[in-house]
Symmetry: C2
Subunit: 371 residues, 2 copies
């Protein structure tokens, strides 16, 4: 039974198996995991699937130029999901020398959220400072706003010519025109790095959450349809699992601000959020000491596994202390909180210094005022 | 019975009456005709209907800034239809000091005709030289390519948010996505002159062939929907009648090159085309001398009336010579040919000198090569 992914819901996908059999996702082979083992997200299977990543790596090994493409809708602060994608592009940039193409989707922020370009500009500067603080090399990055990159909108128009409404409806259901247009624009974002203006056809990888796979499939089909005209190679993609919201119920999403950590959170706010985070603890302290707790149910564990413990040894110790019952959830949270607060503090210090640079990297919005 | 206009067919509309009753076109009042009587197209009722032109004229009389908007798809040379629209914008520019916004629809030429930007650039330069030779004041004109005007594409994206597929289907029938996108982009072209970047809300008039009224209605609805956000005034429009192809059968269209005069036609080609033009002549010379010919059936007469005789006296003489039977069609054609050849010769001389200026007015296409 085919169950299509929905890039716009915040439904939590927990069974990933059918994606391999129904939609042809490729599993991460041991060789691929090894090639990327320098980062916890690949080593721990959080990035769990791909399309054509092997081709991307072969091209890179052969000394060819490669690129990594991603973007952000500048409608809010960086949350942990944005950070996870950012970590991947920065790691790929460092490891393979790939050029990063980073799209600030301000047109989408306007169309979806009614956020005027002037307003999304401030968010964009904040987001870019986060990227720089996380280690993005600005010298090997093409950073752009959708509202200012005609290459992308022109491609969207050209792609529309070979896109039927039926195709879009099959992928996304019956949606409004703005959404279909956003899909075409995203395809433009992903394929633009292969235009002559950016050095021509090349292997590009797009790291995404698995719910974005419909976009990837749609874009790969377009690459094929316009292969003769533009020489496009089908873009590669990697897919990471959803991270749950802190309440453990839905995937982490900007739409649920209470369940999300953002990179600007203060130590106090982090403390409050962590206090409310779901654990795998037992009903009573006595029971927990006797049976141990359940890390696989615990969002605090998932936080450290996905986001905050780079060292496998740290994670292993956390897990064994949890399972053995030697550490109760309150004590555990206090230890993790300190670690997370420390990471945020250092990040925010770096970021503060980088804000002026981020501002310079982004053109001011073109005059497009509301009345 | 509602009969929707089709902006993409080359069907000839000959009964215009239902457009007033069914679609709310406004008749040109004597006062409006008088205000515009300096140009044959208004004086002779070729521009026969409008929407809100009275408001445009009132604003102009009140000393407010006004604008005229039109454009061309740079897929071929200027034909007489393009010239007719160009004459109107130039007349309005001269008469009311309105700023002309002129769009080179190269994205549409790419999407519709597969014409790469590099190729349409040459056509665009040629088209703009025609505009200058016809008298366009470049100092009071904003000339742009769709592929380079982010204001327009950003508006198209914003408009998509409040446009349902049902609305587009009702107006245009079930069409492909590229066409719907072109419609949104055209709405962006028409409303962009009212953005703050171009001086804010103002009265804008769009001279079009009557088959384009669905675009006008659609854009006026959008202006209303986004009135609060951008302060848009509903754009005004004037509507001209179709000019028949030289064979007298369909409206003049780029799609039928044999039935069309283009402004680059040589004297020999003009001669050939005019020789093949439908007349209102009788079966025999004897019959024609006795009964006179029928100018209302004659495309040569229509040519002079619509396009080539500015002086009403010249047209009147042509008509009376025709009706009286004193001038046979062959003799008549020889006289008109000389007049048309003369106009073309002078135009082409002016144009030749203006080609370098036209080239400078248009930015070279952004790097967007085919593989």
């Amino acid at each position: 039974m085919k169950k299509e992914l929905d890039p716009w819901s915040n439904q939590l996908v927990s069974d990933y198996e059918y994606l391999f059999t129904e939609f042809g996702l490729q599993r991460m082979s041991p060789a691929l995991v090894k090639a990327l083992s320098g980062h916890r997200l690949y080593r721990r299977g959080i990035v769990f699937a791909h399309r054509d990543l092997d081709k991307f790596l072969l091209a890179s090994e052969a000394g060819k130029k490669t690129a990594v493409m991603t973007g952000i809708k500048p409608s809010s602060e960086f949350h942990l999901g944005s950070r996870m994608t950012a970590e991947q592009i920065i790691f790929l940039q460092k490891t393979f020398g790939s050029k990063v193409f980073y799209c600030i989707a301000d047109v989408e922020a306007y169309a979806d959220n009614g956020l005027p370009f002037e307003d999304s500009h401030a968010n964009a500067v904040d987001n870019v400072a986060d990227l720089l603080a996380l280690g993005l090399d600005p010298e090997n990055t093409f950073l752009y706003k959708q509202s200012q990159n005609m290459h992308v909108t022109n491609l969207a128009n050209i792609f529309a010519r070979k896109t039927t409404l039926n195709t879009l409806e099959a992928l996304y259901g019956h949606q409004n025109l703005a959404l279909y247009l956003a899909v075409l624009t995203q395809a433009g974002d992903i394929l633009a790095p292969q235009l002559e203006a950016f050095g021509g056809p090349k292997n590009v990888v797009v790291p995404v959450g698995v719910d974005q796979d419909p976009h990837i499939r749609f874009t790969r089909d377009l690459a094929d349809k316009f292969k003769e005209e533009f020489g496009f190679l089908a873009p590669a993609a990697t897919f990471h699992k959803f991270f749950r919201a802190l309440n453990g119920e839905t995937k982490m999403s900007k739409r649920d601000p209470l369940g999300v950590m953002t990179l600007n959170d203060t130590p106090e706010l982090l403390k409050k959020k962590l206090a409310n985070t779901l654990t795998g603890g037992r009903a009573t302290a006595e029971e927990q000491r006797r049976l141990g707790a359940e890390p696989e149910k615990c969002v605090v564990f998932e936080l450290m596994q996905y986001h905050f413990y780079d060292e496998d040894a740290d994670l292993k110790k956390m897990e064994s202390d949890c399972r053995s019952g030697s550490l109760l959830c309150g004590e555990c949270k206090a230890i993790r909180l300190k670690h997370i607060q420390d990471i945020f503090k250092k990040h925010q210090e770096r970021k503060k210094k980088l804000l002026p640079k981020a501002g310079k990297m982004l053109e001011m919005p073109i005059a497009f005022k509301k009345k």
